[in-house]
């Protein structure tokens, strides 16, 4: 079972991606359009697939993978099944960075990519502040410092909203914060991809540490694992993943919390084996949710982040209920 989970999720990912390419307001030949786009021909199908649906699908997959992987890594590091990617403060920092674009009109030269760039910078600053405040990557210090920096960024964000220059700027900002992968181009993917690759590499390089940490940091250190450096790598990787995904797609809730939680029994609860499946399942989930958003009747668009929260919250309540039964 545990061996089959990664190939099974990969197959599901492929099916989901193809489904995502074929869902939309106009019907196009997916494979032909994709082939045309890749070979540089400018047919109508190629434009719809290549300019609209492919970036949207790839960004949904990348954002989902980033959230799933960072959730699995942080839960493993902090040995807490309720740890969440936003714990590092990076997601609030990214939101604040992007909000500043709407408010101050930063980076006008970058066009639609400006919120993404500013979000990445915001995430990086929040992360540095958090690590400086925590002093080390001890789990309770990361949680406390992350909460403190999140609160600070949240307060600054509320201030920005409070003094929004006009109702349109405020609406644009609020909609952006709700989380979406629509109307993004490939330039957003180029913003996301380097952070995704580096963040994943940092986390995956610490698989042995995550494995040893199952028995606590004393045991991990006595087994020759470098807890101090390794945990900083994991926090850094997770923050890069979540910061860049929030910077590009706004905040998409519950994926990073729930996906690792749901998959854990399928990998015999081993934290190091959870990483890749959590990334794949996160990608599938966000892409499916985005397909759901597109299938809803036209009109006022339901934002992706709203849908994942609407679906995730009952699931979370069910998890709490299940946990409660174990203790009563």
């Amino acid at each position: 079972m545990a061996r089959l989970i990664t190939p099974a999720l990969l197959a599901l990912l492929l099916v989901t991606a193809l489904a995502s390419l074929s869902v939309g307001s106009t019907s196009v030949a997916v494979l032909a359009g994709l082939a045309d786009f890749l070979t540089g021909q400018s047919s109508l199908d190629a434009i719809v697939i290549g300019e609209v649906r492919l970036p949207r699908t790839l960004i949904a997959l990348a954002v989902g993978a980033a959230l799933g992987l960072s959730g699995a890594a942080l839960q493993g590091l902090l040995r807490n099944p309720l740890a969440e990617p936003s714990l590092t403060g990076a997601s609030q920092g990214a939101a604040l960075g992007a909000a500043s674009v709407f408010y101050f009109g930063l980076f006008p030269g970058l066009g639609a990519a400006a919120p993404g760039v500013a979000g990445l910078i915001g995430a990086a600053i929040a992360l540095l502040l958090m690590l400086a405040l925590a002093g080390s990557a001890r789990s309770h210090m990361v949680i406390m410092a992350g909460l403190a920096i999140s609160t600070l960024c949240g307060a600054a964000l509320a201030t920005v909203l409070n003094f929004a220059p006009n109702p349109y700027a405020m609406q644009e900002l609020v909609f952006w914060l709700l989380g979406s992968v629509s109307e993004r181009g490939l330039e957003h993917l180029w913003l996301l991809l380097p952070a995704l690759l580096v963040g994943s590499a940092l986390i995956i390089s610490q698989r042995r540490l995550l494995s040893g940490l199952s028995l606590g940091d004393q045991v991990a250190r006595s087994m020759g694992l470098n807890y101090r450096n390794g945990s900083i790598m994991i926090v850094l990787g997770a923050a890069m993943l979540v910061g860049s995904s929030v910077a590009v797609a706004g905040s998409i809730g519950f994926v990073g919390l729930l996906v690792p939680h749901l998959l854990r029994p399928l990998v015999q609860h081993r934290p190091e084996r959870l990483l890749i499946p959590a990334a794949l399942a996160g990608a599938i989930l966000v892409c499916l949710a985005d397909i759901g958003v597109r299938l809803l009747p036209p009109g006022q668009e339901l934002k992706l982040g709203v849908l994942t929260s609407l679906l995730g919250a009952p699931l979370f309540i069910w998890l709490v209920w299940k946990e409660r039964k174990r203790w009563i």
Partner: protein
């Protein structure tokens, strides 16, 4: 050559100028009151506590050995263990192979058999009783086949039967040409199972030697402030406060 040799080992006020050694085939018991420095001493050897002074592992300074090589030679069983996740017993024991970076099936099977946990390999660790779990944590250390096994109060929370079980297992491990260093509160058990004892008092080494040399009325009075009835000639030896 000594497996372990410490010279002027100090950690602030918690451990002051401790010199001791562990020879191959020996089981060395660390005894002393709460706060005497027993755990601190074991933590220094296990590489999780910075220290002043010198520790040599089979003649080589511990500080010059890479972390991973050190972990292959020195296995550490902490005072209390807990698994954050509902791992299977097999997976917990295989974690003992982390310093080696392999999944040596033979070493894992041997460790499981030695600790008598081979019947529960596929059960989840959180479904076992405290005594059963203690044997699994020990099997995890045994799977790494360390030359020196460091155990911090391995029998503290066990019933009489399990205490005997674990101490006999550690003794067999030491007699196979390796070394075992354990901290222990029960002085009767210490006298019965350890080849030598090391008595710590307020971070200092009060006495080291055979149980008869260390477990004297005067030493126990000084270290524990109790007047003890000591009968090392009876089988098993008896040390109880009057």
């Amino acid at each position: 050559m000594d497996l372990i040799d410490t010279r002027h080992l100090s950690v602030g006020q918690r451990l002051v100028n401790v010199n001791l050694n562990l020879v191959a085939g020996e089981m060395l018991g660390i005894i002393g009151a709460n706060g005497a420095g027993k755990s601190t001493l074991l933590h220094c050897l296990a590489g999780i506590q910075p220290y002043q002074g010198n520790i040599r592992l089979a003649g080589t300074p511990l500080a010059s050995i890479a972390e991973r090589q050190r972990a292959q030679q020195l296995g550490f069983l902490p005072q209390s263990s807990h698994s954050a996740w509902a791992l299977s017993v097999r997976d917990v024991i295989s974690l003992g192979r982390l310093p080696w970076g392999d999944t040596n099936a033979e070493a894992i099977a041997q460790a499981a058999a030695a600790a008598q946990v081979q019947d529960w390999l596929d059960r989840q660790i959180d479904q076992l009783s405290g005594g059963q779990q203690a044997r699994v944590w020990l099997a995890r250390v045994l799977a790494g086949q360390p030359r020196v096994l460091l155990a911090d109060e391995p029998v503290a929370s066990l019933d009489l039967f399990q205490q005997q079980n674990v101490l006999r297992l550690l003794r067999r491990y030491a007699q196979s040409g390796r070394g075992v260093m354990l901290s222990i509160h029960d002085l009767s058990l210490a006298a019965r199972y350890c080849d030598r004892l090391c008595l710590l008092h307020e971070g200092q080494l009060l006495a080291i030697g055979t149980p008869a040399e260390v477990l004297t009325g005067q030493h126990l009075q000084q270290a524990f402030q109790v007047d003890a009835h000591i009968d090392l000639d009876s089988d098993p030896p008896i040390i109880i406060p009057r």
